[in-house]
């Protein structure tokens, strides 16, 4: 049996944080929204990171399957990306006039992403999705948006729900939420809102929390594309989460259709702070008309990092590599679960897999297993899809399966 982690320093730091930072750690990286069940099983702060690992404040080491919730695609501190960033930093980063590295990055994205004729840069995924929706509304002069149940497109008021704190009814009144994979509902919605739908906004497949992730049914995206064309509606793919882990040309390309607008962030620059909205030529002038920018949106270091990241992802054929690693991990975890009589579901694509022990619909059993994994050095989450990075080694995968096996045995003994 492996030793179990303790988190004295993390907990001390969190108590300190609670005095001066709202909720200590706000958002998805905090213990509440991060669904740390039980909270004592989880580290709260990082002390360092390298490759596929990070260490917490108490010195415990983790094989990291959250990858900073996506940005870490090549491995923490990737030498090629960091070198490019360091060179650019020596030249200049946040400057009065933008640097031409911005054009180089846009060129690279246009060459890489199938539907991209241009690229618009910002900082977070939410910036890109908001720019996309503004573009669609400006282009169509319509208000309504179609989204799919289980959606997540960021944190701006328009992406939230009427019952969220600080959100007004007016912020979300034009959002129409339909069931995923339901073509009939989509057809009916278009028919009932003729000439009113500005955009369909969706992730490439349903990677909502607390449920098995769901791929598009055969022909679903082609039908969506057709309906958007027939209704002169903009099709926006939110590839912030899945981008570059399924297909370097875009997740729409993976599923055999073309988006009008596609949003990237997370894996775009291996942790350097940049997001991008890419799109088709007919929307370029509309984007030019937007009043939408930010103090750091043209900082040069993330552009240089992004170029190095995308070029390396191409060199190593990252989408294929990450899916192979994910598949190897998936097979090992499922087999380990089976050994103890657990039906572990691994859904979504292997490079961003979602885990759920299906024997208990309340997820309590699953939460107990995940907690035992975390306490032994495998950083999984209880509710969210996971991420594979290119630095993850076969040895990491083998060790993960070993720890998962031990965690299954502990949970099995408690049953």
């Amino acid at each position: 049996m492996r030793p179990v982690n303790t988190y004295t320093k993390s907990q001390e730091a969190f108590r300190r944080a609670c005095k001066v930072i709202p909720s200590g750690i706000y958002g998805h990286q905090g213990p509440a929204e991060g669904c740390y069940v039980p909270v004592e099983a989880w580290p709260l702060y990082t002390s360092k990171a390298q490759g596929s690992w990070f260490w917490d404040l108490d010195g415990n080491k983790y094989i990291d399957y959250m990858c900073a919730y996506g940005p870490n695609i090549l491995g923490y501190n990737d030498p090629d990306v960091d070198e490019a960033a360091a060179k650019q930093r020596a030249i200049g980063d946040c400057t009065t006039l933008p640097q031409t590295v911005m054009i180089d990055f846009a060129d690279l994205l246009v060459d890489t992403v199938a539907c991209a004729d241009w690229a618009f840069f910002a900082k977070n995924g939410n910036d890109a999705t908001t720019a996309a929706v503004m573009t669609a509304r400006a282009h169509t002069r319509r208000k309504k948006l179609i989204m799919f149940k289980g959606y997540y497109h960021g944190v701006s008021p328009w992406t939230q729900k009427i019952d969220y704190a600080g959100v007004l009814e007016e912020d979300v009144v034009n959002n129409i939420v339909l069931p995923w994979n339901d073509v009939a509902a989509l057809e009916q919605c278009f028919a009932e809102n003729k000439g009113q739908i500005a955009a369909v906004v969706s992730q490439p497949y349903m990677h909502g929390n607390f449920h098995d992730n769901e791929l598009p049914a055969p022909g679903f995206w082609q039908k969506v594309r057709q309906l958007c064309d027939e209704n002169e509606t903009v099709l926006i793919i939110d590839d912030v989460r899945a981008g570059f882990r399924m297909d370097l040309a875009g997740s729409d390309h993976y599923f055999g259709f073309e988006a009008d607008l596609i949003c990237f962030c997370k894996a775009l620059a291996n942790g350097y702070n940049v997001s991008a909205l890419c799109g088709k030529a007919h929307l370029q002038n509309t984007v030019s008309s937007l009043s939408f920018t930010g103090s750091y949106w043209m900082s040069a270091v993330p552009f240089a990092a992004g170029i190095a990241c995308i070029e390396k992802l191409k060199r190593i054929d990252a989408a294929k590599l990450l899916n192979e690693k994910g598949a190897k991990l998936r097979d090992g975890l499922v087999a380990a679960g089976k050994k103890y009589g657990f039906d572990l579901h691994v859904t979504g694509v292997p490079s961003l897999f979602y885990l759920r022990i299906a024997d208990d619909p309340t997820l309590k059993l699953h939460q107990a297993w995940i907690a035992e994994c975390v306490k032994r050095g495998v950083f999984f989450t209880t509710h969210h899809n996971h991420f594979i990075n290119a630095a993850l080694s076969d040895q990491d995968i083998a060790e993960t399966i070993e720890i998962a096996d031990e965690a299954f045995s502990i949970v099995a003994n408690r049953r």
């Binding site: 509440a32 004592e40 309340t362 997820l363």
Partner: protein, 250 residues
């Protein structure tokens, strides 16, 4: 704030709380000794319920059952007016038993109010503090279901709650549950044997501080003062409704 939702909370939450009051408060217990009266309240386009005082106990059931006194209200606003003291009710049945309404019932509701809107100094008495907090807990749990079923925004939250039950409780203390079925919520004032999700307060002080808005649930979860688990999306949506409880009970 929606008047109809408030009426449901006032009847199924506040007046129904007399059940627990008559179990825990000696003065209330004494007041209903020997009383044998059923009081029905019927609100047009709103809730109805029957409080029965018998054998030294108070029980409550939704709907108008067999009753000795019936108080009809022509609107939710009128009923809410009775609760806040601006409307005087007039029974359509049981005029001869109006003394119960004027004396015993009024006294009971006064005692209830002393627990639900306590003077700060009274909370320094640990026995009073416990009773007050438990009564608030019953009320808040009831209000969650009423808001989830009637308030427009609350209904939106409830629509995201999958079928099952959420246990709400205080460690080593009282617990109750919210049962969700087809987005309809029902509060049961009993501790479930098992649950789909749970939210447990580490002690009565934490519960009280949360009820009074002195601390934040997200912080408490991080500090381990509130435990959540199971189908957490249910807890998340219950919490969104809990945020609206303050709108109605402030």
């Amino acid at each position: 704030m929606d008047s109809k939702t408030l009426a449901y909370i006032n009847l199924h939450g506040i007046l129904a709380n007399l059940v627990w009051l008559c179990q825990m408060d000696d003065e209330a217990k004494k007041l209903i000794e020997g009383v044998d009266i059923a009081l029905a309240i019927e609100v047009k386009d709103g809730p109805s319920g029957t409080l029965t005082f018998r054998d030294g106990k108070c029980t409550y059931a939704e709907g108008v059952g067999k009753c000795d006194i019936k108080l009809p209200f022509s609107s939710c606003d009128k009923f809410n007016g009775m609760i806040n003291g601006t409307v005087t009710p007039f029974p359509s049945k049981g005029l001869l038993k109006i003394g119960f309404l004027l004396k015993t019932f009024t006294k009971l509701t006064d005692i209830l109010e002393s627990y639900l809107r306590p003077a700060p100094e009274k909370l320094e008495d640990p026995v009073f503090f416990k009773k007050s907090t438990e009564l608030m807990f019953h009320l808040i749990a009831s209000a969650v279901s009423q808001i989830g079923n009637h308030d427009r925004i609350g209904k939106h939250s409830a629509s995201y709650i999958v079928d099952g039950n959420v246990k709400l409780g205080i460690e080593n203390g009282i617990a109750m549950q919210i049962v969700a079925k087809d987005s309809h919520l029902t509060t049961l004032h009993t501790c479930p044997e098992d649950c789909t999700a749970y939210m447990m307060f580490e002690n009565i002080n934490t519960a009280r501080d949360l009820f009074d808005g002195k601390v934040n649930a997200v912080v408490c979860v991080g500090l381990g003062q509130v435990r959540i688990g199971g189908m957490i999306s249910m807890v998340d949506n219950i919490n969104r409704i809990l945020d609206r409880v303050a709108v109605y009970l402030a």
